[in-house]
Symmetry: C2
Subunit: 262 residues, 2 copies
């Protein structure tokens, strides 16, 4: 089992949950397996209030954090993990099967990281946009004939797996092929919010450099967000690149590049 | 993952479930992890009908078996496993933690056995009487501060564990301490119903022999039921003992023992 201190470094994040019963079920599974930190993104207020005031609702619902965006909810996290099945999506980040997740979490906890586990809305799960904040996608290995799980049950299965196995895997053997690419250095990764600051600055530089037409800016932002997570920058990397791009942006603003497309 | 043939040898049994939503949730978790055989013991008919007729109910609810008693539901099973937490009970049979269950199941499947996984009613779980039909008790490792799980979530966690891990453990290393006592021979175990026939006969012999006062008969029946499961009799053992006790009973009836207590 995880220690209390390890569990304290794991956040469960629900993106736009709709059904109060499902919110309650996730909270109950968290209490069953000893997790305490719940965040809810863009909650539908009537249902969120109903879930919190339900008879027998676990205490952790009272102390749950509310966030307007997923970016805000995971700003402090160094490893953000999206959950779901692979039926209707092909994630743009490394995919790990749930039974193989433990070594990854154990390693992140061992180097002092903070983990966020993200569950999408009941109807369609996490969107491609939501997933662009995730370092890894964890796949629950369901039957192809009935792949889609109920939210409360999916949370129970994931939290059971993490609570029961992540500590046993706390000392993974070093060597190749143990971890997804780029995830085996020992410096703490930069938190998600710091990556967002860097990504925003890079986008400003792209715009200032007339790197691509305005219509491409959304796609560029998406690609940069994913790339920065794939690279697993540590905080020193992030500060160095931030300094470099600030300098570039400052230079551009002193002597703007003429937009030859206009 | 388990193969289809392995899943075909696993029955999920619900004892007196009350909430139609929970019945539906168990059926959905079964479909998610590829299990097809559901039995319901002493169903409360209005709620059972409601669960079966719910919109989107998995097909396996239509083909579910109904049984009046747990003994009847598990009559064909060679390994009967009760589920729950250990908060308010101290089982009289070996206890296995859910993350350690896979080798036991893999071994039973490898020797051609039939497994039943039993879930109790929502309110109080399996009774001591229910558990007397179980060879093993599987404990879901929950937090002591909030040990009791929702039925649908408990089923999801157990079925995930079995589907994801039992096959990987199909070849357990031989040797001591790998399995609970008495579970490491290779002959198929006698089915539960055959053990019940033997247990009934032994109780008849006890009565005919004036082994104990009438007030002890219920306790004796309970103890014998447990003992026969702990011994893991195979079918040849069961037939041999059945023959022996039939002969003893026949002898008693030819020349009855005088009841010296009367």
């Amino acid at each position: 089992m995880l220690t209390a201190s390890q569990r304290d470094h794991i956040d469960i994040v629900l993106v736009s949950p709709r059904n109060p019963l499902n919110i309650g079920a996730v909270a109950r599974a968290m209490a069953n397996f000893g997790f305490e930190h719940l965040s809810v993104v863009a909650a539908y207020q009537p249902h969120w209030r109903e879930a919190r005031s339900a008879v027998g609702a676990p205490d952790l619902l009272q102390s749950a954090r509310e966030a307007a965006t997923l970016a805000e909810a995971v700003a402090d996290s160094t490893l953000v993990i999206g959950t779901g099945t692979l039926t209707h999506r092909k994630p743009e980040q490394p995919v790990v099967s749930l039974p193989a997740l433990a070594p990854l979490l154990a390693q992140e906890l061992a180097r002092g990281g903070r983990i966020a586990l993200i569950f999408g809305p009941e109807k369609h799960g996490l969107t491609r946009e939501d997933l662009s904040w995730c370092h890894t996608f964890v796949q629950i290995p369901t039957d192809p004939r009935q792949p889609s799980m109920n939210l409360g049950q999916a949370a129970a299965v994931c939290l059971y797996e993490i609570a029961a196995r992540a500590l046993n895997a706390a000392q993974p053997a070093p060597g190749p092929n143990r971890n997804p690419p780029g995830l085996d250095d020992n410096a703490p990764a930069a938190p998600s919010g710091d990556l967002d600051i860097l990504a925003g600055l890079i986008c400003d530089v792209m715009a200032a450099a007339n790197y691509s037409p305005r219509t491409m800016q959304t796609a560029n932002r998406h690609a940069i967000r994913l790339m920065l997570r794939r690279l697993r920058l540590n905080s020193a990397d992030q500060r160095r690149l931030l300094g470099l791009f600030r300098r570039i942006l400052w230079s551009f603003r002193r002597s703007p590049i003429r937009d030859i497309t206009k």
